[in-house]
Symmetry: D2
Subunit: 362 residues, 4 copies
């Protein structure tokens, strides 16, 4: 009962790792958005497995089909259904975990909650579910682009290795040039080497994705509960393996004094109001203020490791769980397009919601 | 359009700092919950101003009235409306900011979004709005208590001063014994002194609230979007001044290896399944697993300071904004009951949502 | 869990017949609507008891208070709370039904559903609850008026006495001139005499309210589930005592042939597209087409009668229920403003929803 | 923005008449419902075209595929996606109406609302959309059956030809025995002959579907807005071509006196509370009372007729629209399973919502 998201631009996702496929229905996308199939496919490719030796070696084409809602290349205002049929399923890889609870996975909690569980590849709890988010997010990005809004992310930390430069000084064109999707090429190489080492040890490691939205005008966000950053936080925390979210000054802002933290307003040469600093992360009182919106998302190390771990089976007996199949030693390189997609979905929704803020005669 | 929260246990809040009052309507509370007025009043008192010299000196009785939904001491299943009439309003204190944008406040963004703004005390963006959350949260706590679930929080950081002991080793009975609401009395004193110093400087400082929910059974949370921690994150981020949220291992988990991070299952003497560690924060795959749920919430330094700051007015002219009125130098002591209230509201909602997980004949 | 209505222009109502009062919170009203208190009070007066000898003789001033959301005479985009404190409660009038199930009332079903029941005056199931709808609807009317949309209703049937003239030929200024609120003065007199006779017999009778919305532009309504007439139907059926809803040709359309029923399009002199007939009731495919929207709402005879009736008490014993207190022999005269209010709320919501139909750059 | 329906048992439908297909995602179905594919297919077959010479001659297999949510024959608590791929599309049949507004269709209003329109077969406004409702409704029926609740409907009127017997006296096993789906075989023959005559004249005619739900326990329905009959009304009115809804005594109840209309309570031999009559239609105060729930749904004559009609094209020029393609002269025989499906969906949702009415320790 939690697979529908958004208030106006609403997505309803479905699908399991080893079922027929993964899909999404988007209800509430305005009519007239140019549906660029190539772009949607490209976004899916950024998320798909098998991109380099530090990502899982599963081969999934992740080709999508439009089932409804697009006519002569445009959205029609009716629901848009996108579907990605599953391929290369090796369900038998999972027979050994059918009655076992893998540590720090969702096996135990799904069993407790539903009393039944599609154990193949994690079923619905598999990160494969995020393909639907990326497809829907690609459409949201297309709509936002027509409004001059863009969303971009990169890997800013892997294990203890961090990008230290401010995001404004990075060369964003570098992100897709390295398999880690880090905007700083030197740090990217260190991250790659570290992940590769972790992989060889049959282990996994976490990371941080940094995301920036540019071009968002002042006014998006709906206090007091649906503040823009609150909804961004929920969207990010809903992604598999995410453990934390912070925007603007974030947790570091805690130890600052107000006199140093406040963002002072000024007017630039062209008469536009800006803030001299942006510790607010582009959001004040839950509403965008026209500055860059930026935030960080923390991902834990992937729970599946190629090492033996003690656990329990459904009968409550102690068993050994051994990692099999093909898994990512570090999830963040493939998480970059997912973070962007969820951010785009949140922004698309708030763009539409904001249309009702003031009385207008149209 | 964002003042309604929750799916089944739904709250609808209203009110401004200097209007008639602050209130909340709760639709979806089950019938039969004993409504303990004294408890609700006590919770409101924990949030109200004027508790010590490190909180604002405004005097607000914050006495509430039940407008509906309670009959002979029990909830009836119909909407429960609670109202707190405003007192001690000094609206004229705010005349000087009627046309000015206070730095890092919501003045500018409300003006941009709505084209009109109740500037008195921040209007709807005032932290006074949280009184309604605390009142509704008190009712949620009462319901949860009947289910054996409790929610408690304390201040774990102010500026750079942190509680370092694990939460399990703290004496929680100490929390209400000091004005900072820190569970470690020694650290509490350091925090108090620091906040007092900051106050004398006319400045402000941030902090962290640490929250634990005990007794939540396995099964609460609704993947894939309404994961328990995602909704907790949204609820916390919707509180004024919050900049970040993390649960379980949080941002620190990023730099751990999977082999060290995974929580191993075991069965205790009474046959109950537990995990040996709890880096999952009591939530796996977005669903509670029966362990303690714990998380941290980062609050920025309060934007209102008793120092002159440069800013703009509505006409776009440079002006000086001077802090007046009565304000908190550090928001976290009074934020403790707010964090608890929002957590209780989220849990109450998921308790009810979880009733639909499995087919049952009742 | 059903006291919140609307998607964008959302109302959350609360209150019981003999509690503190009746109220409503409106979340999602745009900023900038002029709040005309006199108009809201006038609408409440049209609904209030004691208007003539054919309505209940209860005296209720039904004066409302604005608790939030209005500043300097305008809505601010934040929640608007309106509250009507109860007066003239004679709760002891109801002691005799505390443990009895009145025939065709909600006593039995509330008891079954909630296990507890505020029996005083019907509690939440009292028609007094509709005061909140009228208050919120008045605000919706004010907003719609600024868009050139009006909603008006009249009593078109009482018992078997019907208005036979087409609504276009009636003098709508007559509606408020007679206590029945019938647009045809002659029929109004017959209705009045009949209701008065029914009243003297201690009985009750049903009726039909006919409602027309003018000025609604083409485009309002959200297929496939939230069709404009589907939502109007739900809104009307949610009013106490309503048993049926039909729009346009309604049930009579069933026996027509398609060739006679279809509304042919044409262009008028000013180039505007119209239909020559309007059996569609201004709605095609669930979306307004620019013609008048009209519909009929059937009300059953009021369940409370001044006659003895056999029933059961909570213990399952046969008892006699005798009507006491002050009740309406026919509900439709006072239902006119309620029907209008609910229609206005539905239209206000669809106006806002329609803003997201097409991509626009604003 | 209106293709998602339900609060807990939520369906999200998609698809157009001549796109890839028609589908539905069900989010909120409890885990553990036995998914009987044959039953779902059988329900779809009751709705599909080509059943007799009085229904459209289009040939559609309407075979469905399960895309997600079912594992080893049971629902898993995760979203269930069902898809029916379109076949036998003759899109070129529709080229002639690409720029024309067919009278009493949704062509004009979709064009006005969205600015773009998939004209092939009516696109999203085609009755083909209801296949998704029937598929989802079949699942709801399966769940309800496990709770002892059934939903059945039949055609009670075609043009002016009506079934006059009370529904309790009809032989329901006759319904599927005749192509009209009328429970009275003699009336069924008259209806068939009449529809056939209308068909030969290239015309169409309306009808009424009568529906009964049995076995619904007391307690389902959520006042004050989401009353059981209000939601049933909305669900029915959302079906293509529906013009009216009434339950229990309906519009006829208007002219009754309260003393004759009230349903008196009594206790049967086994101690169960019943009402002697059932003018309430099984619903009091918006909540089921344990009696049969019954209602009537009015369908207008189908707008597509095989006769020339004057209309306008997008350029505003007068044109002649001629019916082509394959259409139903009377929609009600195929509407029977759609009415049942929507009723089942409403009941399934209220069953789940009612779980939160009272505090319980489970």
């Amino acid at each position: 009962m939690g697979s529908i998201y958004g208030k106006i631009f609403r997505i309803s996702t479905f699908g399991e790792s080893h079922g027929a496929g993964i899909g999404v229905v988007i209800d509430g996308c305005p009519a007239g958005v140019t549906f660029d199939s190539d772009f949607v496919q490209k976004e899916l490719s950024r998320r798909k497995p098998g991109q380099s030796r530090i990502t899982t070696q599963r081969k999934e084409g992740d080709e999508f089909e439009v089932l409804s809602g697009v006519f002569e290349g445009k959205t029609t205002g009716t629901p848009i259904a996108l579907f990605i049929r599953n391929e290369d399923q090796r369900s038998k890889d999972y027979a050994h975990i059918a009655d076992r609870f893998r540590p720090s996975h969702a096996d135990f909690t799904y069993e407790e909650k539903y009393g039944i569980r599609d154990y193949r590849g994690g079923g619905r709890s598999s990160a494969r579910e995020t393909a639907a988010r990326v497809a829907a997010g690609a459409l949201a990005k297309l709509m936002l682009a027509e409004l001059g809004v863009s969303v971009s992310a990169f890997v800013s930390q892997v294990g203890a290795i961090k990008v230290v430069k401010p995001y404004q000084e990075l060369d964003w064109s570098q992100i897709e040039e390295n398999p880690v999707r880090c905007a700083d090429p030197e740090v990217a190489q260190q991250m790659f080497d570290y992940i590769d080492q972790v992989r060889k040890n049959g282990d996994s490691v976490g990371g941080v994705v940094f995301c920036v939205a540019k071009g968002v005008p002042a006014g998006w966000g709906e206090p007091v509960f649906d503040k823009l950053h609150a909804e961004l936080g929920k969207a990010m925390l809903s992604i598999n393996a995410v453990k934390g979210f912070e925007y603007g000054s974030g947790f570091d802002g805690v130890s600052m004094l107000g006199s140093a933290h406040n963002d002072l307003f000024y007017k630039d040469e062209s008469g536009v109001i800006h803030t001299r600093t942006n510790r607010s992360g582009g959001i004040q009182g839950g509403i965008s203020n026209g500055e860059d919106i930026y935030f960080r998302v923390a991902f834990k190390p992937v729970a599946t490791i190629m090492q033996d771990q003690e656990s329990l089976n459904k009968a409550g007996e102690t068993v050994i769980v051994s990692g099999k199949g093909r898994h990512d030693p570090c999830v963040v390189p493939r998480a970059v397009p997912i973070v962007e997609a969820m951010a785009a979905l949140v922004l698309a929704d708030f763009y539409l919601r904001n249309k009702s803020s003031k009385l207008s005669r149209d």
